[in-house]
Amino acid sequence: MGAPSLQGDPPREAAQPGRGTAYFGDVLGMMLWPVHRLIWADPQRRARKLLEFAEVEASGGRDLVRAAELTNDPVLRARYLAHARDEARHADMFRARGRALGKEMTGEGKEGLADWMAPGERGMEGLDLAREKDADLLAFLHLSESAAARDFARYARVIDKDPATRILFQRILHDEDEHKNYTRGELGRIAPRRARRVLWWARLRRLWKAYLRFATFFAGMIAGVVLTIQYFVLLPPFVWLARRNARREKPGWIGVGERVAR
């Protein structure tokens, strides 16, 4: 089910992302093809990833509901609510397929090193919806849906031994295309003169957020290494003290005695 069309067809350029972006996406897609094939080959990982995608879609749907609650534009409100219904349906579809695949799973599913290279939708990427203007939010959504559509198309191509999952991706892909188009169309409606500028600004913000994700990950990794070294080098003398204290402390009630708060 696509979003209802209230404003006629979107502008012609709306159906496709910028040429440069598409080219970059295609090249990246070709480069990542073996990685995606590897990631989606294992049924356990496939099941786990589909269940993760279900959570992301459900969360994205909740963000869209929030956007609907906050906008003063009745057309956008209807669009967002319809979009949110789609996301909730996608979540159900991913969950059902993940559960079906996962029936034979022995654990929660293996996580691989390259796993992060096959993301689902990123949704609103932690945007503060209350502070976003409608145009900025639409631009962000448009780019997010475009990226998701590209990713899901890639996954559908590499999952050749699991037709049910491939068809699932293709069906969801159809909706993502609809979402991509309506967000671009609505952006053209509410910000006709500055739609391109807003889109470029949103691209820069996505890039910045990607950098922040990377920087946070990198900083976390460095901190992790430093703290691990600290753990093994500095802590051992204190371990003895802590264990001695633990031996002295008996389980059961500990009197608080005179600690009276008046």
Partner: protein, 587 residues
């Protein structure tokens, strides 16, 4: 004095404002941020509390944080040291977590509010729980029990509280149990084992327990061993609170009870596996009740007091609460509307007012409605924009009662938002409680949740005994839906939608004074059906916090099978919305 209480950084952040000894505002951050169990710094909640009272941060005499971060850091670090070298994976995570923000909370609060750190103070976690339970309760003297996962070091405390004739107040902590021996962590580990989210799914374990038999209680006693002095200890071989923070159980736990349920795996109670999970839930629940009743009984004998105030997350366990009231010897049991960490914001503020600053005690209004009020005009505007006809009617109660009698489901927004996890009549979904099909309809079309989870009823206080087997003091316990009691057998078939599989219900007993409009609705519905009882469930969808504003109520109404939305005197019905939606789709 103007005192702001804050809880946060673990789960369910909140802020509460006490002015001249009386609460004026309290709200959970999740209700404003719309992120369920929001654990972040509760800036939106603080801003709302101050705006509501017309204050700026500089007007505050004190800001009180609900726990002492340095003591908590001490506990975390000591635990990691004791677990060396096995705790090496947890150490970097824990240090980043603590050193990043949590340890410097006084500075953080001061910088966020733009005030001096001298005005920011921290009190102990269980002191906040004890104050939230005792200082809000309409009792002069009571025994106090607080129990949760863990605060700084304490996991369970017992003590007494007194409000004296000279206006002074006292909270006396007698003794405590310390980490890692924790009833809350024990129950949370079972919650995780059963595939539910910790700090969120504990009530699902309680619901599931009714479908099982406590056949595994002997094994549970190996995990949690009662001691001669009435305390208990956990066998730490079965738990891993450092290595597996999210789950908390070890491989020996799995050896004992079998493979855990995977979070996405549905529970089929007709299958052997489903019954195994139900039996494990029943066994953990039975043991928790046994321990809590034992501790409460000992405390009653020791203090000779007739009132008990119960705080902490464990106090959300309504089955255990009802057993304590029946068996421990107390005449009355007070559980606040927000006994968990969110309620600590109010507890911390009251503790500072009465204990730290020695202000005279003042009675705290005995209701849970401390949050934002709905804006009916906003609903009118949104409905108008969407072309949906609205009925604004001073006599809506009769229309709503008619709709309920015709098996319609009502979304109800009225007055200030509840403080705490329960919808107690201001942000509720109401339905007729008679047929099991209504329960299935709500589960399938609105709440999208597991079939084993029960729905709660609300009943007018004067009719409660007719339908429910309330123990002495039970009406008080049920004021904030804190106790699970039997539905009288002769009414179970006519109250099938709210009667759990074991014949019980987590009833809300409503005093007219607390919520006159809802009371009038119950009366009006009673005239039509002969049974003044309604099914009352929280106004939210799965995974979302309870609605706060009318916009949130409206979007929820649009997305599920609620038939009628009522906000104050404004009403929308689904037929009209459906027509508008069809027009949208056609367009």
């Amino acid at each position: 004095m103007k005192i702001l209480g804050i809880s946060g950084h673990y789960h369910d952040s909140a802020a509460a404002l006490v002015v001249d000894g009386v609460p004026v505002a309290a709200v959970q951050e999740e209700r404003l941020s719309r992120h369920k169990n929001d654990a972040g710094f509760p800036l939106a909640a603080i801003e709302w509390c101050l705006d509501h009272a017309g204050l700026s941060p500089n007007d505050l005499d004190a800001v009180i944080f609900y726990e002492k971060p340095t003591l908590k850091f001490d506990r975390v670090l000591t635990g990691l040291l004791q677990g060396w070298p096995g705790s090496w994976r947890s150490y970097p995570k824990a240090m980043k977590n603590m050193l990043g923000e949590k340890l410097w909370v006084r500075g953080l609060i001061a910088s966020q509010l733009g005030i001096s750190t001298r005005r920011v103070r921290c009190i102990e976690h269980h002191q906040s729980h004890a104050a939230a339970a005792f200082l809000t309760a309409p009792t002069q003297e009571a025994a106090i029990i607080t129990a949760d996962g863990v605060g700084e070091w304490a996991t369970l405390t017992v003590g007494t509280g007194a409000k004296r004739a000279d206006g002074s107040s006292e909270i006396r902590m007698l003794r405590e149990l310390r980490f890692p021996h924790s009833l809350g962590l024990f129950y949370s580990a079972v919650t995780a084992y059963l595939g539910f989210t910790v700090n969120e799914g504990e009530y699902k374990v309680m619901g599931l327990a009714s479908y099982g038999q406590p056949t595994r209680i002997a094994e549970m006693r190996r995990l949690l061993r009662p001691m001669a002095d009435g305390a208990f200890m956990l066998d730490l071989d079965f738990f891993d609170f450092l290595g597996k923070v999210e789950s908390g159980y070890s491989s020996r736990f799995i050896d004992l009870f079998g493979p855990p349920r995977r979070s996405w795996q549905p529970i089929d109670l007709r299958s052997e596996e489903g019954r195994r999970f139900a039996d494990i839930a029943a066994s953990a629940q039975a043991l928790l009740e046994e321990v809590m009743v034992g501790i409460a009984t000992n405390l009653q004998r020791e203090t000779g007091l007739s009132d008990l105030c119960l705080g902490g997350g464990v106090a959300l366990n309504g089955v255990a609460n009802a057993r304590i009231l029946r068996e421990a010897g107390f005449g009355r049991l007070f559980v606040p509307s927000a006994p968990g960490d969110a309620g600590c914001a109010l507890g911390a503020a009251l503790y500072a007012d009465r204990i730290l600053f020695r202000q005279p005690h003042k009675a705290v209004p005995d209701h849970p409605f401390w949050g934002p009020r709905p804006d009916e005009a906003a609903l009118l505007r949104v409905a108008q924009e969407d072309g949906i006809p609205v009925v604004a009617n001073e006599q809506l109660i009769e229309d709503v009662a008619d709709a309920l009698a015709a098996d319609k489901i009502i979304g109800w927004v009225d007055g200030a938002l509840e403080y705490g996890p329960r919808a107690l009549g201001h942000r509720s979904i109401f339905a007729a409680p008679h047929d099991a099909s209504m329960r299935d309809r709500l589960n399938r079309d609105i709440k999208y949740r597991e079939e084993f989870r029960p729905f709660a009823p609300v009943v007018a206080a004067e009719h409660a005994d007719r339908f429910f087997d309330l123990p002495p003091g039970g009406a008080r316990l049920a004021r904030f839906m804190s106790g699970v009691v039997p539905v009288r057998p002769e009414w179970r078939s006519r109250l099938a939608a709210i009667t759990h599989v074991d014949g019980t219900a987590r009833v809300q007993v409503l005093d007219r004074e607390m919520e006159p409009r809802l009371h009038a609705l119950l009366e009006a519905y009673g005239k039509r059906s002969g049974i003044p009882v309604l099914l009352n469930t929280s106004f939210n969808l799965a995974g979302e916090p309870i609605v706060n504003t009318v916009s949130e109520a409206y979007s929820t109404f649009r997305r599920c099978a609620i038939d009628m939305l009522v906000a104050g005197n404004v009403c929308l019905t689904k037929q009209r919305v459906a027509r508008a939606q069809i027009l949208e789709n056609v367009a």
